[in-house]
């Protein structure tokens, strides 16, 4: 658990990660709030808030009397979201660090190609 951000956000992100990386397939059930809370050792209300956030975004939905499930198309939506954020979340810091070290963008591009091989 990161100290710098609200826990419920971190819960939501963890669940999103699980969905994007395929650990939580679409239409599968996620652990209950109490299970999450017990496992992560956090307050169930906080866990609920994190789940609620994803419900609001349409990533999860509730089946009455059963539990929370991953919505259809959730993964695709999350991937799209992350692509948009990719630039500021990963590229900007990468460029800033490269600049500090005196690596020009063109050099950087070459490094990326090399590493990707």
């Amino acid at each position: 658990m990161d100290d710098s951000r609200p826990i419920y956000l971190q819960i939501a992100e963890q669940l999103e990660d699980d969905i994007v990386e395929g650990r939580l397939p679409e239409e599968s059930q996620i652990p209950s709030t109490n299970e999450l809370a017990a496992f992560l050792r956090i307050n169930p209300a906080t866990a609920g808030k994190g789940v609620g956030l994803l419900v609001d975004q349409g990533i999860l939905y509730k089946k009455r009397g059963i539990g929370m499930f991953v919505a259809d198309g959730a993964r695709a939506r999350l991937v799209a979201q992350r692509r948009e954020r990719f630039r500021e979340q990963y590229l900007a810091p990468l460029l800033a660090e490269a600049q500090k070290l005196g690596i020009a963008p063109a050099q950087l591009a070459a490094m990326i190609q090399e590493t990707a091989r």
């Binding site: 658990m1 990161d2 100290d3 710098s4 951000r5 609200p6 826990i7 419920y8 709030t33 109490n34 809370a37 017990a38 992560l40 050792r41 956090i42 307050n43 169930p44 209300a45 906080t46 808030k49 800033a96």
Partner: protein, 304 residues
Amino acid sequence: MSVIRVQNLSKRYGRSSGAVQAVAEASFTLDENRIHGLLGRNGAGKTTLMQLLTGQEFADHGTIEIFGENPVENARVLDRVCFIKESQRYPDDFRVHHVLSTAPRFFADWDADFADELVERFRVPVKRRMKKLSRGQLSAVGVIVGLASRAPLTFFDEPYLGLDAVARQLFYDVLLADYSEHPRTVVLSTHLIDEVSNLLEHVLVIDEGRIVIDADADELRGSAIDVVGTRTTVEAFTAGREVLHRAHLGSLATATIAGLDEAGRAEARAAGLELEPVSLQQLVVRTTGDTPGGPADRTNGGRA
């Protein structure tokens, strides 16, 4: 729905020069069915506040409403309250099983099976005299009573003193699990903030009798951030911002800033400053400490 409502509560011990203002004009509201943390240094007023709320101490002035009524000598309210304090005294002739057999009479929701289970998990010797228990075992008994009572309003006053790290974690785990299944209002006072910070939903910080922080735990988390860099950069950046704490080592300086939004953080990074998270414990320490850069320095802009 608020279960506790306090206005201008004050309590002083002693007279004139030796007097201690244990609680000073405290006003706050606690919502039902949440886990509230009452944080502060030793002697800050946590225990006195809880004793006032449970009618064990008498306030000098101010109002307290618990379940909508004044709790003092009020059986209707007190029947629904359980207050476990670390210094609870027991009759000399009591053994552990006497505590476990008398407590249920006072708590209508007592769960005997749960109590038995906890006795085993905390390894409490049931036949031993209360006087002969170790500090940790005494705390364990208090914790067991507090948990098994299932009282709608349960106060835990530093209940883990003497418990080793394993037993403490057990307490947090059991509290969480039971709270999930049997929601109730829990007020937990502690100075081991980092250990419980994930459990809390709402935080009250008390310092020298005054409530200095009253906030949602999630909002509080991440509300303060450390900026680290050269003194000049830090000072330039902090001008006009609320600074909670400053420190410096040679030409390196750090400042704890409250409420830095995304734009502010980007600005900091652009200025070449590093951003570091501030844990709840650090936040509380910096707000209530009397080290240089403490409360006296909590002004916009502040001086170095």
